[in-house]
């Protein structure tokens, strides 16, 4: 049978970083890629004939929120075994970025993107009430977990271990 994880993958040996999660979201070109993927998703949603422009924008916002929430605030630890023996196992990816420092450029960028999408979605849905409520809830889920006061906080012990 196949051995798993750290023995075979050589993370943290030789001259590599112990846990690349800290820094990969700040590496060259990843912000552009992020915006590009968002645009492509949005255009794909726009091409579906039964969605009006408003629905497409709200859907983009909601899909973006769900995926980023799951990736950044629900998944904990790393998808590879690190030689630092699981220090980051109880930390979500957001808490691992830049070793937990606040207000770094990566974190600022990732906070601004949902807000920008919210503004654009509100504009294109012509401030319709239903759409506004949905977009606001999506924005809430995107931005509130990123606040520095909520670093390491687990409400009702959900997702603690």
């Amino acid at each position: 049978m196949v051995p798993t994880g750290e023995i075979t993958m050589n993370i943290g040996t030789a001259t590599s970083e112990e846990n690349p999660t800290h820094s990969y979201l700040g590496s060259r070109g990843i912000w552009i890629t992020y915006v590009l993927i968002l645009l492509i998703t949005h255009f794909m949603l726009l091409t579906i004939p039964f969605f009006s422009v408003a629905v497409a924008w709200t859907l983009t916002n909601v899909v973006h929120c769900v995926i980023t929430y799951f990736m950044l605030h629900v998944t904990k630890g790393t998808p590879w075994g690190t030689p630092e023996q699981g220090k980051a196992r109880t930390q979500t990816q957001w808490e691992q970025i830049d070793f937990g420092q606040q207000f770094t450029p990566t974190k600022k960028f990732l906070t601004v993107v949902p807000v920008a999408i919210f503004f654009l979605a509100s504009f294109y849905t012509k401030y319709d009430t239903t759409h506004f409520c949905i977009n606001l809830i999506a924005l809430g889920f995107s931005v509130i977990p990123k606040l520095p006061q909520l670093h390491g906080v687990r409400i009702f012990n959900i997702n603690k271990w």
Binding site: V2, T8, T15, S16, R28, G29, P79
Partner: protein
């Protein structure tokens, strides 16, 4: 009298247009040849003389390649998630050992931690950890294997491939099982046996070890040396006996895991500085001396700067003259790890100190390994007599580990005698010059072809950047099919956009072998479109390296 004079200093690579203006009469009005001379400026010029010959490039990742890399990883992760989902609902076939779910027990492992290994690494697993038989010299014999179940497991086909070996650290070509070294080793094993079975402080100190220590000290040009039977342990077991709590270690951010482990075991405070960045090192030194220890603000007991000679992943050489200048200015100590540079660089093959023409007595602790250049195992630490006396008494490896096996010690003695020229031939010189020639030639030709290479023009480790994970897999497989064996490295062992293939050159590679390798690399490069470089063609060449002819 006021006079403004501008001096232009052209440098080798490009005209940087550095201008120096000074007014008035300097230095008591010393005038010679009609121009004002400032002695401080002359010092600066001679000190920066090493910079003129120092040529290191780390070309930036092209944006399109970076974006494609991220999208590639995204697709791999998405497919992995789909397979994980299928496995969880029972449809998917994933041949991995999963922990049984016992009710009432907390799980031992997090399945998420195996995600990357199962769904990304496993797909290209045949490129890593290939079984090799025989001596890994200039050519090696790779045992063929194939996989019927998408690389979860491998079976041997029964065939062997003899390929050019660019994956082993064999800088001087001592990885041979015939020749003067091998004969002497055989004789030594007959005399002394296979192992020593005792630690240095307890009957494990043979006359052979004494001879080896003396020879290493002579080779390096230091007062005395101390050897350890394992290269990794030379760092991890000896740094704790040199620094402790209350000391500060300034280590380069790309230091090897053995150095990092040794620094952590010592209990000292560790600060990293940007790779090979002397401004950052100086800033850290100044801050450390001014701020002192974190809470108590007592001065540091010792400040130790830990750097490597040649960094094997990047191919860069440390800016040693600058480090020594800073060390002397701020009264810190220097620990130089020459694992990849001893024997490989320098006009006499004596490492990075020799490369820059500096005095080995300036470096406080010179550490190195015998694994890469001398075809043996183990490491050494060289320095002043007081340092080595201390290590012989207090090092963990002197007390707890057995000392070096006699056969290995004899290999080191024989190879070092050859390198020093004490066997009467010019073999050592020939090997050093051949390695230098190979390095320059290989690097020049690859850069002319348009590949992005990292590192110094003189470093025998050549990282060739490919950026995308699928490309490194294809490169590895294609080159094995065409007769060349290289090591490829990807994320997460390297930064996400910097997947690379790494060539390790050797003095045992002939020009024909290099030409064959270059042809293979060029063909695969055209196939994969990895000739990304937009830099100018290199200005260095192999023609200023004289080769020693066979007499």
């Amino acid at each position: 009298m006021s006079m403004v004079e501008t001096i232009y200093m052209p440098s080798e690579n490009d005209f940087r247009g550095k201008t120096k203006k000074f007014n008035g009469v300097q230095n008591g009005g010393k005038i010679s040849n009609g121009c004002h001379k400032k002695t401080k400026q002359v010092d600066e010029e001679t000190e920066k003389a090493w910079e003129k010959d120092f040529c290191e490039t780390f070309e930036e990742t092209p944006m399109l390649a970076a974006i494609s890399t991220y999208i590639g990883y995204l697709i791999l992760v998405a497919v992995g998630h789909v397979r994980e989902f299928l496995k969880s609902i029972g449809i998917g076939v994933v041949k991995c050992v999963a922990e049984p779910k016992i009710p009432g027990f907390v799980p031992l492992y997090q399945t998420w931690e195996s995600f990357y290994s199962w769904y990304v690494y496993r797909r290209i697993q045949d490129c890593f950890c290939r079984p090799v038989s025989g001596v890994p010299g200039a050519k090696m014999v790779v045992i063929d294997r194939e996989s019927n179940d998408h690389r979860w497991s491998f079976q041997y086909t029964g065939g062997h491939s003899t390929v050019l070996n660019f994956g082993s650290y064999n800088y001087l070509g001592f990885s041979q099982n015939s020749g003067p070294c091998a004969e002497e080793v055989e004789q030594t094993i007959k005399n002394y046996g296979v192992s020593v079975c005792g630690s240095r402080q307890e009957l494990g100190y043979l006359d052979l070890h004494k001879q080896m220590d003396r020879l290493v000290a002579d080779y390096l040009g230091v007062e005395d040396a101390y050897t350890v039977p394992m290269g990794f342990a030379t760092n991890s077991m000896n740094i704790p006996s040199l620094v402790g709590k209350g000391c500060l270690i300034l280590s380069d951010e790309l230091n090897h895991a053995s150095l990092i482990l040794g620094c952590r075991l010592s209990g000292a405070k560790i600060k990293t500085f940007k790779h090979n960045c002397m401004k950052d090192l100086e800033k850290n030194l100044r801050e450390a001396i001014v701020d002192k220890q974190p809470r108590t603000h007592r001065p540091w007991k010792k400040i130790l700067i830990v750097v490597e000679g040649v960094y094997s992943m990047e191919g860069s050489i440390v800016k040693l003259p600058e480090v020594l200048r800073l060390k002397k200015k701020y009264k810190a100590y220097l620990y130089l790890d020459e694992a990849h540079s001893i024997g490989a660089i320098g006009p006499h093959g004596k490492g990075v100190v020799d490369y820059f023409g500096l005095n080995p007595r300036d470096v406080d602790i010179m550490m190195g390994t015998f694994t890469k250049s001398f075809g043996a195992v183990g490491g050494y630490i060289g320095g002043s007599q007081a340092l080595v006396n201390h290590l012989r008494l207090y090092s963990h490896s002197a007390i707890y580990s057995s000392s070096m096996a006699p056969g290995v010690a004899q290999q080191i003695v024989s190879s070092m005698n050859i390198m020093l020229g004490r066997d009467g031939t010019r073999e050592g010189e020939k090997r050093i010059q051949q390695l230098k020639w190979n390095t320059r030639y290989f690097r020049r030709r690859l850069q002319e072809m348009g590949f992005i290479l990292y590192g110094n023009k003189d470093s025998p480790v050549v990282p060739l950047l490919m950026f995308m994970p699928s490309k490194i897999a294809k490169f590895s497989r294609e080159s094995l099919n065409r007769g060349m064996g290289v090591v490829v490295v990807g994320f997460p062992a390297t930064p996400m956009t910097k997947c690379r293939a790494r060539f390790c050159l050797s003095a045992s590679h002939t020009k024909e072998m290099l030409d064959e390798a270059l042809q293979i690399t060029s063909d695969i490069g055209d196939l994969l479109a990895i000739k990304y470089s937009k830099a100018e063609p290199p200005s260095y060449s192999e023609n200023d390296v004289p080769l020693v002819e066979d007499s």
